[in-house]
């Protein structure tokens, strides 16, 4: 059944690593919904399972039990190749360490998802240059990643994540390798460029300085979602401009049972 309003729906999602006595349950029955048009944050302490959950949602990791629907599709019924195709068409990625190809220029890096989908190079390059221009990098398109600042690299990564117009954008710690100002600029860009009514953005982060960008925030601890806040409830608790975002704990783990 198609779920048009909900981009991601997890029900009792379980993920275990290892076998026998060494088996570890990392996700312990996750219930989560990510809405289209929202920028949703997934926060929690290190080792709580955020990245594992993100990997499962993005179709990079198999899960052990439970249901998962992404963009209205039942991912569990897909073969490996179908998942690759699904990712290529529908999901954009931003990584903590940018993961740009060091031998490719900024523009060439941006073209990679289109090249993977067999789009002609010239056409891909045209789109990449337009997107880099939109992100304020028109003068840096021919630079190698090593010649770019961290913020510029992450903007290139953002362009690469958006070039094929994905409906779900997953971001793993997009600001953790950046200073506060640069991180803020990147998040502003992410909010303004990536968030659209037909697209969902899911961000895993530790960085409390960017929490206020979230439309909804799911707090994880010990493999479970322990609390979900929407922007409305969050701003009621911590109105912007009163310094709450800088004093809020980056790891709100005390909420709910572990």
């Amino acid at each position: 059944m198609a779920r048009q309003e909900i981009a991601v729906e997890c029900r009792e999602l379980v993920k275990e690593f290892g076998r026998g006595e060494s088996r570890t349950r990392v996700l312990r029955g996750i219930d989560l919904e990510v809405n289209l048009g929202d920028m949703s944050f997934l926060v929690g302490p290190s080792g709580c399972g955020k990245t594992t959950l993100l990997s499962v949602i993005a179709g990079l990791l198999e899960w052990t039990d439970g249901d998962l629907h992404v963009l209205g599709s039942d991912v569990s019924g897909m073969s490996g190749d179908e998942k690759v195709l699904f990712r290529r068409r529908n999901i954009g990625f931003m990584f903590q360490q940018f993961n740009l190809l060091p031998a490719l220029t900024a523009a060439e890096n941006v073209t990679v998802p289109l090249l993977a989908a067999n789009v002609p190079r010239k056409e891909a390059m045209g789109k990449a240059l337009a997107l880099l221009d939109l992100l304020g990098l028109s003068g840096r398109s021919a630079a190698l990643p090593s010649e770019l600042s961290g913020g510029e690299q992450q903007r290139v990564a953002l362009a690469r994540a958006l070039i094929h117009d994905p409906r779900l954008l997953v971001c793993d710690e997009p600001t953790s390798a950046l200073d506060a100002d640069t991180g803020h600029i990147v998040m502003e860009l992410l909010s303004s460029v990536a968030v659209r009514p037909d697209r969902a953005v899911l961000v895993v982060t530790h960085d409390s300085r960017i929490f206020h960008f979230a439309d909804s925030t799911a707090y994880m601890n010990d493999g479970r979602i322990v609390k979900v806040e929407t922007k409305r409830t969050f701003e009621a608790d911590f109105p912007r401009g009163n310094g709450a975002e800088s004093t809020r704990s980056p790891e709100p783990v005390a909420i709910g049972p572990s």
């Binding site: 594992t52 990997s55 990791l61 290529r88 990625f93 993961n99 490719l104 998802p113 993977a116 989908a117």
Partner: protein, 381 residues
């Protein structure tokens, strides 16, 4: 994505050059040693291939290769001449003697003696003098390498003399000949002269050279000679093969060259494989990102194979260029004369390089294929 694969490869200049160097070195060693080996094998047959006048060689059945002579009788020569289909048959002497050198020492010589009246089997290409001068008393023709050996640095000039078995040997010509296997000089003379230089024995005919009658099939004549005389009769090519096979089976030459070629292959495979594997491992994060983005395993395999192919082709080309350059620059050195880069060696080396790069890329491909794309979310370093 081929473009991405090539940029990834060329972007790491040091490893790219390292890979090409490893494959070039390996390819050069394999092609060089194989060509030298076959060059040496060809040299063992130089005195057969230089006899261009006769199609059939007749010899004692116990002869295993050209250097091992079992003398025939004059009667054998006449019996061969009586076989159906034989146009003509002449005697050929092959032996060795010691000669007094210009420096006063003694030097071993190979002596080839040809039929006095026809000179069948004598060298056809002369650098100096003429073959007809062999009809003069005490005259010999010497090969170019032998001349250079005896009179190093001197230009080719007839009129010099040697002394063999207390007999004078006047050099009336210098002949071009195929590079010999043994470093001893070769002198060519008439049969009657040759047997005087080595000392008369009861039987002196080493081989009988036969030309079949026009229209007769060579193999049929050989068979008839064998049946009628009990002697061994074979074509020139068969005698070449017999001689090469003798050396292959009874000397350490193929084993030693084979070891070198095998080592070149192993070293090439190990170094190229290791470097390529490290190259892939260092790019694992990038490959993980590509997999996450939606690049299929098949596409990544194709990318790695393309990288390996480029390295292989470049390495092979450089290796063959170096090998060809070696043979080109050494072609006028006496003891390296006649060696050249054989197309068979190139083809074999090409196949070996292909095997090396396939082996080298297999490990890398396996490593990337089992890589979970979620690796990039775990730090991926």
């Amino acid at each position: 994505m081929n473009f991405v694969a090539l940029k990834m490869l060329l972007g790491d200049r040091a490893k790219y050059i390292g890979l090409i160097f490893a494959i070039s070195f390996s390819a050069m060693l394999m092609a060089h040693q194989t060509s030298i080996f076959w060059g040496v094998m060809r040299r063992t047959t130089s005195q057969i291939v230089d006899v261009k006048d006769a199609a059939i060689w007749v010899m004692d059945p116990r002869v295993k290769y050209v250097d091992e002579v079992q003398p025939l009788t004059e009667n054998d020569l006449y019996r061969v001449r009586g076989v159906d289909g034989v146009e003509w048959a002449t005697r050929l002497f092959r032996g060795s003697a010691k000669a007094k050198t210009p420096q006063g020492g003694f030097q071993a010589f190979t002596i080839m003696g040809f039929d006095d009246s026809t000179l069948v089997g004598a060298p056809r290409e002369m650098t100096s003098g003429t073959l007809a001068d062999l009809r003069k008393p005490d005259s010999v023709v010497i090969d170019e390498d032998g001349y250079r050996f005896l009179w190093p640095g001197e230009s080719f000039r007839t009129g010099k003399t040697l002394e063999m078995n207390d007999r004078r040997a006047a050099i009336v010509g210098i002949a071009k000949s195929s590079p010999p296997f043994q470093p001893t000089p070769v002198v060519y003379t008439r049969y009657s002269q040759a047997i005087q230089y080595v000392g008369q024995e009861r039987n002196m005919v080493s081989f009988v050279l036969v030309q079949p009658r026009m229209g007769e099939e060579v193999q049929s004549v050989c068979r008839r000679i064998r049946e009628r005389t009990g002697l061994a009769a074979m074509t020139r090519d068969e005698f070449v093969r017999k001689t090469i096979l003798y050396y292959l089976r009874n000397t350490g030459i193929p084993v030693n060259f084979g070891i070198t070629v095998a080592l070149a292959f192993i070293v090439g495979a190990v170094v190229a494989g290791q470097t390529f594997y490290i190259f892939t491992i260092e790019n694992l994060k990038q490959f993980g990102a590509l997999k996450a983005i939606g690049v299929t395993n098949a596409r990544i395999t194709a990318m790695i194979l393309l990288q390996a192919l480029v390295v292989g082709v470049m390495g092979f080309a450089v290796g063959m260029g170096l090998t060809a350059a070696f043979f080109e620059t050494t072609k006028n050195i006496s003891h390296l004369r006649g060696f050249y880069l054989m197309w068979e060696a190139m083809a074999g080396t090409g196949a070996s390089v292909l095997t090396i790069i396939v082996l080298a890329s297999l490990l890398s491909i396996r490593r990337v294929l089992v890589l979970e794309p979620a690796y990039v979310f775990r730090g991926g370093n």
